[in-house]
Symmetry: D2
Subunit: 367 residues, 4 copies
Amino acid sequence: MPGNSFGTLFTVTTFGESHGPAIGCVVDGCPPGLALTAADLQVELDRRKPGQSRHTTQRREPDEVEILSGVFEGVTTGTPIGLLIRNVDQRSKDYGKIKDQFRPGHADYTYLQKYGLRDYRGGGRSSARETATRVAAGAIARKYLRERLGVEIRAWLAQLGPIRAQRLDWDEIPNNPFFCPDAEAAERMAAYMDALRKEGDSIGARISVVASNVPVGLGEPVFDRLDADIAKALMSINAVKGVEIGDGFAVVEQKGTEHGDEMTPAGFLSNHAGGILGGISSGQDITASIAIKPTSSIRLPRRSVDIHGEPCEVITTGRHDPCVGIRAVPIVEAMLALVLMDHALRQRAQNADVRSGTPVIPAKIPA
Amino acid sequence: MPGNSFGTLFTVTTFGESHGPAIGCVVDGCPPGLALTAADLQVELDRRKPGQSRHTTQRREPDEVEILSGVFEGVTTGTPIGLLIRNVDQRSKDYGKIKDQFRPGHADYTYLQKYGLRDYRGGGRSSARETATRVAAGAIARKYLRERLGVEIRAWLAQLGPIRAQRLDWDEIPNNPFFCPDAEAAERMAAYMDALRKEGDSIGARISVVASNVPVGLGEPVFDRLDADIAKALMSINAVKGVEIGDGFAVVEQKGTEHGDEMTPAGFLSNHAGGILGGISSGQDITASIAIKPTSSIRLPRRSVDIHGEPCEVITTGRHDPCVGIRAVPIVEAMLALVLMDHALRQRAQNADVRSGTPVIPAKIPA
Amino acid sequence: MPGNSFGTLFTVTTFGESHGPAIGCVVDGCPPGLALTAADLQVELDRRKPGQSRHTTQRREPDEVEILSGVFEGVTTGTPIGLLIRNVDQRSKDYGKIKDQFRPGHADYTYLQKYGLRDYRGGGRSSARETATRVAAGAIARKYLRERLGVEIRAWLAQLGPIRAQRLDWDEIPNNPFFCPDAEAAERMAAYMDALRKEGDSIGARISVVASNVPVGLGEPVFDRLDADIAKALMSINAVKGVEIGDGFAVVEQKGTEHGDEMTPAGFLSNHAGGILGGISSGQDITASIAIKPTSSIRLPRRSVDIHGEPCEVITTGRHDPCVGIRAVPIVEAMLALVLMDHALRQRAQNADVRSGTPVIPAKIPA
Amino acid sequence: MPGNSFGTLFTVTTFGESHGPAIGCVVDGCPPGLALTAADLQVELDRRKPGQSRHTTQRREPDEVEILSGVFEGVTTGTPIGLLIRNVDQRSKDYGKIKDQFRPGHADYTYLQKYGLRDYRGGGRSSARETATRVAAGAIARKYLRERLGVEIRAWLAQLGPIRAQRLDWDEIPNNPFFCPDAEAAERMAAYMDALRKEGDSIGARISVVASNVPVGLGEPVFDRLDADIAKALMSINAVKGVEIGDGFAVVEQKGTEHGDEMTPAGFLSNHAGGILGGISSGQDITASIAIKPTSSIRLPRRSVDIHGEPCEVITTGRHDPCVGIRAVPIVEAMLALVLMDHALRQRAQNADVRSGTPVIPAKIPA
C-alpha cells in the first residue's frame, strides 16, 4: 500500500490538498449496523475547524462533510464509507510569492526532491488541512468504540511553550480555545499567544490523551503491538516530533521496583505502563503524550534557498496557526480511535472465542 | 497481515519463542545481487548476544544463524531469505515456579487474556529473544544500504538511569560493554550496574541513533511518513516507552525561529528536525532517541495475582538483564535499517525516474 | 485491508452504491509527472456508459468524472488522486417491490446474511455500477503504461451465447455496440439480442484481452504471480465465472511438445503460455479470456425466498443489461491495466538496476 | 508485501528452493487453542510426496516437517507457526547441463531477466517443490475449518489428457495413484501414462475441488470477493492456466433462466454459481476447477536459446513428473483451505455479531 491508507481492517484512505477542489476519505471495514449521520462527524470536525478564536488561523472553512456511500437508512451497511469536504476559502494568491522558495521547517524542499514537482498552494498535500479527513474518519471509529465497547478517548493541551496545565479538569477543556484542562493556565496561554502573534513567532506544545475502558487483549505482537501502532498513528500527525506511552521518557531514570505496575485482585496499583504490556492492552487506561513543534510558517524572516538553488529570504504572510498544537487535540483523539478500532477488529478476528478463565483485573482499585 | 511482519516491500516475518526449538525469520523483497554470507549476519548477532559481560543475562546462546534460502553462489537471488537460529541454552525449569503467576510489568497477564493460554517458558513469544531475528534481518538491510547508498547507521547508549554520556566518541562505543560513547561515563555505569545487581533491582535507559547519508526523498506521506514508520519500528522493540525524532520533546518549549532549520546553498544550518520534513527525508542525518523501561524481571518481591485471580508474591530468579537497554543498541540499528531499506524501495517504485532540477542541499555546512 | 482496495503499490480504493449520492475512488501511488485531465478518464467511461444502444440498460448516467486531488497544473503530483462520479438517474422505485425478496443469482441473499442488512436499491454495492470507478482508475494506469512503457491493452467480445467472433479485426471493435471484432458476427449478435429481449431472458458471454509490449520481468513469485493477480483482477469483475491465461483449459489435453513455447534468438515460436512463465511476464503478448454469466435480472418469473424465509416469485422489471458481458469489455481492459501498472512499480522497486546480460527474445518472429 | 505471502489475517509466508538446504514457511494469525502436531501436517505432505508411484518423479524426499514455534503443549498459541522441511535428495548434477540454457515452458528465461541471475538447480524457487510448504500450511487451515466450522474440502483429478473421470466415487480417490474418483478411468490413465513415459512427452490435466459446509457470508466485495481470492490462490499454483468457479466457461452459452439458482425454503434447487453470489459464499458447496499444463521438462528435444542469446537444443533428463497435475490435488485442497480460513477470520472481524433474522437456506433440498 502506498502511504495514504491507515489500518489493517478498519482502513482509512485519505486524499486532497489544501487548495484543491476537495479533501476526503474512504473508510473501509466498518461493521454494519452502526447508526451514523453527517452530524455525528460534523461535531468533531467543528472542534478542529480553523478560525474559531483569534489564536488559530483566520482561514474560514466550514468543513462541511458529506457522506457519499456506505450508510443506508441511517446505519452503516458494512461497505466503504466515502466522505467529502469541499474546500471553500482558498486564498491561493497568498502563496504565489513563496512558490519558488523552500520555507524552512516545511516540506517544500523534500516534496520537490521526492516528486520532482509540488503543489505549492498552502503546502498542498503536506498541509495539516488533510487532517480534517482523519477527524471525520476517527469520529466513526469513536462512535463505534463508545457505543459497542464503552471506550472513551479524551485529549488535552498539556503544555504550550513554557506554560503547563497544572490540573486535569475535564469540564474545563471545551471552555477555552486551547483545549486546556486548567482554566488558570488557559488564561496565561491566551496572554502568551497574544504576545507571540505580535512578535511574529510560533511555539511548540504537548498534548496528552487517555483512552478509558479499553478491553484487555488489543494489540498484535511483535511488530503491530498496540503501542507501536499508536506511536505510528501519532507521529504521522503533522509537526509531531515525539511520542510517549505511559511514563514515557521518565522511565529512563526509573528502577524496576518503581516502574512495574503491581497487581491485586481488586485492581492494578499503578499505571506506569500506560495500559499496555507486551504490546497488548491490559485494561488499564491507555495514556500517551506527544510533542508538537512550533509552526514553521512565521512572519519573521528566515534564510533559505529557492528552487534554482539560490539563497533567498523567506517571510510567510499567509494565514497560519502560531501554535499548531492547539487544533491538534481532536486529531490526536481521532488517530487513537482509529488504532483502537482497528485492533478491536483484529482481536475479534483471531480471538473472538477465547475464554481465559482468569478474572479480569480492574483498571485501578476504586478509591 | 497479522502482527509478525514488518515492512511493505522489504518485509521481515519473524517466528519463535524464547524456549522453543528455534527462532527465525523470512526476509522477502531483498533485491538480487547483494553479496551475502552467514558471517555478515553473525557479526551483528554477536553484538546483541547475551552473556558477553557480567552486566547482561548469563544465558549462553551461540545465536548461530543459518541461511536456508534466497542466497545462491554467495549473492541474494531476489527470492525470500529464510534464516534460522536454534535455541540452545533453555533452562526452562527456571520458569516453572512462575508458570501460574503474572509477573508485574510483563506480558504474562495480557497474553493470557488475549490468547486464553500462554507459553510461560521465558516469556515465550514476548521475550526479547525474538529480537535476535530482527538483528539478523536488519543486517541484510544495513549491508544493502551501506554498499548501494552509502548509508551508515549507528546507535549508542546515551543514558543509563541517572548517568548520561557526555561525549560522542564513535571509537569508544565497541570498547565497553554498554555501547556507551563516553569512556568515563561507561566506568560509572559499570559501578552503578554492580550495585544494582546486588540490590536485585533494574534500571531504564536511553538509546540514541543516527543515520547518515540517507538520500533525500524517503517517506510516504501522509500515514507512512518516514518518521511515523521509524516511531512504529522503535516502539515495537520490547520495553520501549518513548520515541523522539530530532529535538523530540524539547520542541514543546521551542519557538519557530529556534526550531526551523535554515538552509543555504552550502548546507543546512542546523538539524532540529532530525533529518525529516513533512515525513520525507531531507538528506540531513536522521536522528532519533528512545526510552527503555527498567527490566520487569527483578529479584525483589512484587505483589501480583495468579491465574486463578488470587493474590501472590512474585520473585524472579531466572537469568535476566538488569538493564535491557544495553543489548537493545544493535536492535535499534536493525529496526532503523529495516525502515530505511523499505522506504528506499518504496521511493524507487514510485519515483525512480524523478529529476527535480533543484540541487541537493548538503546535510550541513562543512566545518 | 478490507476488500475494496486493489493493488500493492498502485492502489485503487473504490466506494459507492448504485443508488447512493455518488461513486468514486482514490488512486494512490501514481508516479508524478503524468499529464492527466478529466477528459483522459471520460473517454474510457464513455465506452462503458449505459444506454448507448438498445442492447444495454436504458439507465441514463452521464458518468461525468471529477478529479478532486492529486493533479496540479495538468500533471499528477504523486499524491492520491480522488475521483468522483455523481449518480444521477436513480429510479429507486423500480426496486421497491423486490426490497424484501432475494433475486436468484444475485447477491441479495448473501449480502443480507453477511451484513445483517442491505441496500436493496439496484443491488447497492453489489451493482456493476461500481465498475465505473475501476474504469476511471484503469484509465490512469493505461495512460502511464502506454506513454512510459508502450504497453497496449485491448479487449473484445469473443462470444455471445452461441455466437463466436470468427476474426479479430481491431478496427471493427468500436464500430458495433458489442465490442465485437467481427462485423458479421456482430450483426448476428444484434438479431440474437433482439430476440432475447423479447423473450425476457439473458445470456452469457466470453471476453478476450491482449496486452502487447509488456516488458519482461513483471510478476512476483510465488503467490503474487502475474497470472495469479490477473486471475484475481478479472474474477473480481461482477458475473465472471472463469479465467484463462494463454491456452487456458485447452492445456488439459495438450502434450508438452505441443504446449511449451520454443524460443530462437529471432523470437518465440508460439505463445501457448499467454506471455507468462513461472508467474513472470516473458515479453510476449499477455492473453487472457473470461466467462461472464447471463444477467441474473430477467423478466421471466423465478422461484425464490423472501427475507422472512417464505417462498415467493421474483420478476425483475428494472432496467438491466440482458448481457452484462457487453459492457464488461472496458472493465476487463481497466483491470488488466491496474495489474500491469502495479507490477511495473513492484518490479522497479526490487529490480530497477538489474541487468541480465542476456538479450531479450522478441515476442514473436516477424512475419 | 512482496510476493511470497498469502492471506490477510491467516497469512502464510513461504521460503526455499528446490535444491537449497531447506524449504519452509511461517503461518501467522492462527487462532489459539487448536490441537496441532507435526503428524497432522505430515499426513497431508505424504499425499503430495514425490516418488510414490511410477507415475510421478522418482526424487525421494521424505518431506518431514518440523514445527519450530507457535505450538505449546500440543495446541496453537496464537503466535506464528514456523515450519521447516529439510531438502534431502538433491541431485544437483542433473541440472548442470542446463545451467546455461532456457528450458521452453519454464521460468528460466523470465527469472534471469527479472533478477539478473537465477538458481538453476532444479528450477530453484520456481520449482513446484515450494508447494510442499503450502500443503503443510494448508493442513493447519483445514484442521481448523473442519473442527470448528465443519468444512470439508476434497479435490480430485477430473481429467488427464483425453481421459475423463466419469463418476465421483469419494472412496476411490485414495485407491489409485491419480487421485481419480473413477477406478475404471484410473486404469486407463495408468496405461496412458506408461505410454507417455516411454514416449518422453508429458500431458495436461484438470482438477476439480469442492468445499462443503462453508458458512454463508465469507468474501469481501468488491475486490477480495471469495471467488476472486480463490482464483488467485489456484492460479498461483505452478502450471495452472485456467480457473473456473461453478459452471465456469459453460456459462458463456447459458441463459439466465438456466443459470440462476432458484431458491426455496427447503433449499437451493441447483448450484450453477458454485456456492458464491456477489463474491460472498451462499452456504452451498463451493465448486471450482483448474487446468494444469503439461510438464515443461520432457526428454524430447526442444529448440531454445542459451544465456548468451545463442540457439540451442534442450533435452531434460532430470527426474520429473510427466503430469504435474497428479500431485497437484493436495495442493489445490491446501490453497482452497487457506482462502476459506482467511475469509472466515475476516468475516468474524467485521461481522461477528451480525444476526440477519432471515433463516439460512439449506445448500440443497435433501433427496
